[in-house]
């Protein structure tokens, strides 16, 4: 009994000292991704992390089982004179079969729910800070995972000709949605000069 107690105390004590080492996010040029589109000189590629193993390798935990889908977005402005603005909070996932509720969340704000129409479910982007509160884990691990998610998140900015950016957008999956049912990733981009929105829709197979 004493040995078991001692062992438990040791495990609890040492687990506090454990730190996890997470790899750097590696990114290729936009044109080298399978899901890539070019509109008005703006090249956008997406790479959804649909496989559990890949997610665990980069994030140190299975985000998918916690209802979070990370999608890598690589953007290159190859136009001559246009400036673009990728509106991250307008990003969405389209589902093959419709479900009910969707949520959009961003740092420090509460979730607002809305009902999708017809047979598609739209799942919106979620901030890593809110994600961090979703599961309980050891503090060190939680810190490393959260910092890694924040570090790799796509930041909103205007892109001038010749500029590029990359990062992850985190989508919240509801209980009823499955990764296999994701039909498309939709991104909305504003052309600053023409003031027109451009929709980039990537079909996920």
């Amino acid at each position: 009994m004493k040995r078991i107690l001692l062992f438990l105390i040791m495990v609890i004590f040492l687990s506090g000292c454990a730190t996890i080492q997470l790899p750097e996010l590696t990114v290729k040029p936009a044109s080298q991704y399978r899901l890539s589109q070019n509109k008005e000189g703006l090249v956008i590629s997406v790479d959804p992390f649909l496989e559990k193993k890949r997610v665990e390798e980069l994030f140190g935990t299975d985000l998918l089982s916690k209802g979070i889908l990370p999608v890598l977005v690589v953007v290159e402005n190859n136009s001559n004179s246009s400036t673009f603005y990728l509106q991250k909070e307008q990003s969405s996932l389209e589902m093959a079969e419709g479900e009910s509720e969707t949520g959009i969340a961003s740092a420090g704000r509460s979730l607002t729910y809305q009902r999708p129409d017809k047979a598609t479910t739209t799942l919106f982007y979620v901030s890593p800070l809110i994600v961090a509160g979703i599961w309980q884990s050891f503090e060190n691990e939680r810190e490393a995972i959260t910092k890694n998610m924040i570090k790799n998140e796509l930041r909103e900015r205007t892109l001038n000709p010749g500029e590029s950016q990359h990062g992850l957008i985190y989508f919240r999956l509801t209980d009823k949605t499955r990764v296999e049912d994701i039909a498309a990733v939709n991104l909305k981009v504003l052309n600053i000069q023409s003031k027109e929105n451009i929709l980039f829709s990537f079909t996920v197979e």
Partner: protein
């Protein structure tokens, strides 16, 4: 011990542990400074009249950080508000506060500037550290008077503060560290806004 069954002992221990942990939950209210301790150097100001719009969320922003058996509350709305005013005043020829984006029309401003807090980062584990890292991401959106975005940038401010004095408390260290990250963010934002020529087409 012979008088108590194992079950009774287990219940007693559980009761003691629960009482102990419930009593430990504490809310740490931090007293953050309300102004930035810095100056913005700019030789030539952007020749525009800027309307600074700060949402209620931004004006009263409070970062809440859950830790073991408690939480820290950092009310940083005031320092963000005053820092934004100082920075925009220094960057633009003229600056006024607008209470809503729609008010920009009546106040005859050239552009509307609206900041929003994206993320605040403080480390979860503090006990064994002799330093404190902090970070803050603020998104700056500059729009025309019709609300169309012209320039958007998300700027990260960060700090790395060594524990200089032994008597400095953990709370003081956290406050100072977050303050420095906020100031670093303003410095970087200021440089980004004034060094780019995003405004050139507006005056044409």
């Amino acid at each position: 011990m012979c008088c108590y069954s194992n079950k009774t002992v287990a219940f007693l221990m559980l009761f003691i542990i629960l009482t102990f942990f419930v009593g430990c939950y504490k809310i740490y209210e931090h007293h953050m400074p309300t102004a930035v301790d810095m100056s913005f150097q700019q030789r030539q100001k952007i020749p525009l009249r800027a309307g600074l719009y700060m949402s209620e969320d931004f004006l009263h922003y409070s970062y809440e950080w859950e830790v073991e058996f408690g939480k820290h509350v950092f009310p940083i709305g005031a320092i963000l508000q005053n820092g934004s005013k100082d920075m925009i005043k220094a960057a633009f020829q003229d600056m006024i506060i607008v209470l809503s984006p729609e008010e920009a029309n009546t106040k005859r401003v050239d552009v509307v500037i609206s900041p929003s807090v994206e993320t605040v980062i403080l480390p979860y584990e503090l006990k064994m550290r002799a330093y404190q890292d902090a970070g803050i991401f603020i998104k700056w959106m500059i729009s025309d008077i019709e609300g169309n975005p012209i320039w958007v940038e998300t700027i990260e401010g960060n700090s790395h503060l060594e524990k200089e004095r032994l008597y400095q408390t953990r709370e003081e260290l956290m406050d100072k560290s977050l303050q420095l990250a906020i100031e670093n963010q303003f410095q970087k934002s200021f440089q980004k806004i004034v060094s780019s020529n995003w405004w050139a087409s507006i005056k044409e």
